[in-house]
Amino acid sequence: MTDPAPLRSHSVDDFVRAYENDRRLRGFRCGRCGATTATWGLACSRCGEAALEEAQLPENGRVIAGTIVAVASEEFVNEAPYAYVVVELEGGARVSGWMPGVRSEDEIAPGTRVRFQPSYKPGVQFARWNASGDDTGR
């Protein structure tokens, strides 16, 4: 295992600021196994390699699994019901996010195309999206 790469910005807050303020999804790519992740760490959670490269993650992906949250926590209580989804982005990194206004499980069936949608609300947000580029969310 090599020493951690000297990453310029390397904090959980940097990840959060990226998607909440800078309108981009930040991640890491493992220098050994190539796995990409949207979760902060000092080493790859797949293979243990410490040489991680910062990566800007693609905005488009597909739903792996999700749910419609009816009973929310305090931060989201005014948003319920909404969808919570685990999304596989193009290139393989997975990120979780929420989809305001989505109230039916049919709208988040596995394989549904979604796109990262920055907004003033907290957290990573996705919206449904079809191949022709039209936003079909809400």
Binding site: T67, S73, S96, G97
Partner: protein, 384 residues
Amino acid sequence: MRETWVVGAASTRYGKLGESAREAATRVALEAIRDAGLGPKDVGHTFVANCFGLTEHQGHLGPLVNNGLGVPEVPSVSVESACSSSSAALHEAFVHVAGGFEDVALVVGVERLGHLDTLAATGYFAYAADYPFEARNGATFPGLYATLANAYRAEYRTTPEMLGAVAVKNHANAARNPKAHFQKEISMETYLGSPVVAAPLRLYDCCPFSDGASAVVVAAREAIRAPPNEPLVVRASVRAGAVTALQDRRDLVGLPSSRLAAEKAFRQAKLTPAQIDFLEVHDCFTIAELMALEDLGFYPRGTAGRAALDGATARDGKLPVNPSGGLKAKGHPVSATGAGQVVEIFEQFNGRAGKRAVPRTGTALAHNVGATGGSCSIHIFARR
């Protein structure tokens, strides 16, 4: 490694505690020590499990329990592993006793959430997930298990009645358990008519927020001359971990830490699933019981729901699962839950389970999960 036994056990009723976590923990600890035919001065080390004590403005619970027992000089440590905190504490006690560092160790798990409203409690539960990468993105604890349920449903046909069968069974068992939070049976109609919390999970798929305290006393066989109860011989005490955030798991069907812990536990116990008479498994949500039975190797993937519907996992079925009522209906006082599972097994082994007694009590397994599987404990017990 020395042969290690569970020699005493006690639990409060789960539900609402009419006293602080500190008082309840001390009371059940004394009861468990006396149940073992011992006194507080026999305890070499106390392992306390508690997650949410700070909401009661009290941390560092171990010395307070020992002070209350009249043995302030006994060392203690607090163990936190979310919903698997007291099984983690039991594992630490096992390591100390089996390793020869102590002859007798006390394990006490306690949680009090009743002073918090549902909104606040939902928030605290979400802190056991990967907060910035899951809860901040909208996940709740039921939402994460609902996501796992939908990943499971995408692979294996799962009807609402299969999940409902787990809820109906565990309520039926809890109705026979005077220490259970919910002592009432529910019908499939009641289950199906309950409101959705996080699709597909309904209210009756979810464990309640419970208060409660449970304690067990662990001792080296050679330190106990004439145990007043039939001891549980610890045949396996193992822990496993897994990546916490669901987004970083390759596979969302089942829990990887359950599979890893089961593999280690059966190897350590030199037993197979077919040799286990009954189980207490981590059913924080009905889907979790189905995943556990498959992860632990008791049923092939995709078949545990059918088994629940067919009554195979009922108290008098082929493989009784959660005769106590489980987290689902006995209740889930987070840090007491793992020790509480062992209290149930102790009572079953000692003929103290009354109307919920299972037919065979030669061997048993306890499976306890931390949150969505970042941690997992498995203990396997047998008779002398």
